[in-house]
Amino acid sequence: MPGPLSETFRELADIWPRYSELLVSYRLSPLFGHDIELSVEGGETLFIRAEKDRLVLSDRLGHAPEAVVAMSAVDWDDVLSGRIGIVGVMFAGRCRYPVHQRYIISKLSIVLQSLLTIRRIPA
C-alpha cells in the first residue's frame, strides 16, 4: 500500500547516489547491506536496503528483516520532515529500539535525517 513513506523514500532513492559517499562514512558504513523494515502502524510497510551506489526499496521481503522501525503516521510525518530523527521517537518511548538492532537503527537515523534536511536546502 503506497503512502508517504514510499513516496519520500522513492525521492531519497533518486538522490542517494549523489550523497551516499558524503553521508555514509566508515563509522556509518555498517548501515550498508542490511534489510530494514519501515512500517506505519496500521498503514504501509516498506523494506529498504542501503548500498553504496543505490537505495533499494521493496514492498515485500522473503526473509526476516535485520531491523524494524515501526511508528505511528504522525511520528513518521515528523521524521520524514527531517525535524526529528528516528532516535527522537525512540527517546519519546514510541519506537522500539532492540539492543541487537541499535547499530543499524542509530546509523539509519543519522543518515536519514541528514539526507532529508539536505534535500530541502535549495541547490
Partner: protein
C-alpha cells in the same frame, strides 16, 4: 594478536622519558579541564546529591572529592569526581573516546591513595588516554557514539593497575575482571542525572578489577580481543587492529579536545558561531527573527533528539522527571540561552533560563540543517558549523566556524577554565598555586601539595554553594 597482553606490556613498560613533551602538556591540559569541570559540577544540586549519596555508607577518607571538603574511599571518590566532571558535559575526548572524565579521576585517586609522584600521575594519564582512544577506535562502527562509548572498563583498570605497580600479567587480569560485566548505557538515561554516571560506573569496575587482581583473583587475560570478550560484547563491529596501531608512536592524547562550553561536543562549533555573531554585531536576542544552523549530521542527531517528547522536555523538568542533562545535548535551547546571555556556562542550564519565555521563544525559531560537506568533514575530525541569523530589521548575519575551539591547533586557555571554576571557592593565590603545581607536575614528589591547593576555603565554599543553587535544573518537587 594478543591485544590485551600487548597493551598491558606497553602500559607497564612506559616511562616518563618515553613520552614527548607536547603529549605531557596535553595531559596537564586535561587535568586543568577535568578538575575545573568537576569543581563546577560540585556546585550543582545533582553534584552535591551525588557526593552525599556516595558518602552515605563510605567511612573512608583516603581521597579528595573535587570542589568539596568531602573525602571518600578511592573508588567512591573517583566515582564522584567522574560524575562531577560529566554533570555539565564539560569534559573532553581523545579520538572518539571521552577519556578525561574516566582517566583523571582514577589516576588522581590512585595517586593520592598510594602517594605517587607527579610523574607517576602524568604517565598514568597518558596511558589511560592511549588505551581509551584505541579501544574507542576498535568499536567505532558499533552502535555507540561520543560519550556513550562503552570502553572505559579497560582504561580504568589499566590506569589503576599501573599506579598499583602491577606487572603485565596482573594488569591483564585486572582488565579481565573489570570488563567481565560489560556495561552499556541505556539511552533513556540521557534524560536525567543518570547520564553523569557514564564513566563513573565503568571506572569503579576498573579500580575494583585492579584491586582484585592484585589480591590474587584471576581474570581473563584476553578479554579485549576474545570473540566472546568485552569489545565483542559492546560492539557488533570490531577493528581490533586499531588496538596496536602506532602504540608508543602515534599518541592519541595529541587529539585531545577540551570543551570551551558545557555542551555536547557536536554542538561546540554552532554555539561558538552564534556567540561570534552576537558579539560582532552587538546583537540582542530581541533583534532576532530566526536562526538557521548548518552542521554535521551528528549535530542534528543529538541536537533534536528530545524534540518529540510527550509531555515536552520543559514540562518533564518541571515535573522532576527530567533534569538539565538533556538540554546539554540540545542545540536550540543552549543557542537561544547563549544569544540571550552572551555566554554559555553552567548558569544557562539553571531554572531561570529554562523558565525564560524569551529563551524558549527564541529556541522555537532556531532550525537545524545538515550541510553535506560539513558532515563529511566531521569524519575527518573537522567540526564545522555555519549559523545564519535573520534579524527583525531584515539583515542576514552569518558566521562560519571551520574547526571547534579546543581542537588540536585551535586550543584555548584551558588553565583559565580551571582558574575560573576554582576562584569562587578558593582564594586567588591558592588558585594560582594549584595551576602552577599542575604546570610543574613532573617535579612534584607527591600530589599532596596539589590536592591541598585544590581544597576549597570553607567560607567561600558555603557562599558559592548558596549562590550556585541555580546552577542546574532540578525542579523543586
Amino acid at each position: 594478536m594478543k591485544h590485551t597482553e600487548n597493551l598491558c606490556n606497553w602500559a607497564c613498560g612506559l616511562r616518563y622519558e618515553d613520552i614527548p613533551e607536547d603529549v605531557i602538556d596535553k595531559a596537564k591540559e586535561q587535568l586543568y579541564s577535568i578538575i575545573g569541570a568537576s569543581v563546577l559540577g560540585a556546585r550543582s544540586q545533582a553534584g552535591r546529591a551525588a557526593i552525599a549519596g556516595l558518602r552515605a555508607m563510605d567511612e573512608g577518607s583516603a581521597c579528595a572529592i573535587f570542589g568539596s571538603n568531602e573525602r571518600a574511599s578511592v573508588a567512591n571518590a573517583a566515582m564522584a569526581n567522574s560524575f562531577l566532571a560529566q554533570i555539565f558535559e564539560f569534559e573532553d575526548w581523545a579520538v572518539y573516546s571521552h577519556s578525561g572524565a574516566c582517566v583523571v579521576p582514577v589516576a588522581m585517586g590512585m595517586s593520592e591513595k598510594l602517594n605517587k609522584t607527579g610523574r607517576d600521575l602524568l604517565v598514568a594519564l597518558v596511558i589511560g588516554n592511549e588505551i581509551a582512544g584505541r579501544t574507542g577506535l576498535a568499536i567505532q562502527r558499533g552502535a555507540h557514539v561520543g560519550n556513550s562509548m562503552p570502553n572505559h572498563q579497560a582504561d580504568a583498570a589499566i590506569v589503576a593497575s599501573r599506579l598499583l605497580g602491577a606487572g603485565p600479567r596482573e594488569m591483564a587480569g585486572a582488565v579481565g575482571l573489570s570488563c567481565f560485566m560489560a556495561m552499556q548505557p541505556a539511552p533513556v538515561g540521557y534524560l536525567t542525572d543518570a547520564k553523569g554516571l557514564i564513566n563513573a560506573f565503568p571506572l569503579h569496575a576498573g579500580i575494583t578489577g585492579a584491586l582484585l587482581s592484585r589480591a590474587g583473583v584471576t581474570g581473563n587475560r584476553d578479554v579485549l580481543e576474545h570473540p566472546a570478550g568485552y569489545l565483542a560484547s559492546v560492539s557488533e563491529y570490531l577493528d581490533l587492529n586499531e588496538l596496536a596501531e602506532g602504540l608508543g608512536d602515534r599518541w592519541v592524547l595529541r587529539t585531545l579536545r577540551s570543551k570551551l562550553y558545557p555542551i555536547c561536543g557536536y554542538h561546540i562549533s554552532p554555539i561558538h558561531a552564534a556567540l561570534q555573531i552576537r558579539r560582532e554585531h552587538n546583537l540582542s536576542a530581541d533583534d532576532i527573527e530566526s536562526v538557521d544552523c548548518y552542521a554535521a549530521g551528528v549535530t542534528l542527531y543529538a541536537g533534536s533528539r528530545f524534540h518529540t517528547l510527550e509531555p515536552d522536555l520543559f514540562t518533564r523538568i518541571e515535573q522532576g522527571d527530567a533534569t538539565h542533562v538533556p538540554l546539554l545535548f540540545d542545540v536550540p535551547f543552549p543557542m537561544a540561552a547563549a544569544f540571550v546571555a552572551g555566554e554559555l556556562t553552567p548558569r544557562q542550564y539553571g531554572m531561570d533560563y529554562i523558565r525564560s519565555p524569551q529563551v524558549r521563544d527564541l529556541a522555537g525559531r532556531i532550525r537545524l540543517h545538515v550541510d553535506a560537506e560539513m558532515h563529511a568533514a566531521y569524519y575527518r575530525w573537522e567540526y564545522a558549523a555555519r549559523v545564519v541569523v535573520k534579524t527583525r530589521d531584515g539583515r542576514s548575519l552569518s558566521a562560519e566556524v571551520s574547526q571547534m575551539p579546543g581542537a588540536p591547533g585551535h586550543e584555548f586557555n584551558v588553565r583559565a577554565k580551571f582558574e575560573q571554576a576554582l576562584c569562587s571557592i578558593a582564594p586567588e593565590d591558592r588558585v594560582r598555586r594549584a595551576g602552577d603545581l599542575i604546570g610543574d607536575l613532573e617535579n612534584q614528589a607527591t600530589v599532596t601539595d596539589l590536592l591541598t591547593a585544590l581544597r576549597p576555603d570553607a567560607e567561600m565554599l558555603c557562599a558559592a554553594t548558596a549562590e550556585g543553587a541555580g546552577l542546574d535544573a532540578t525542579a523543586e518537587s
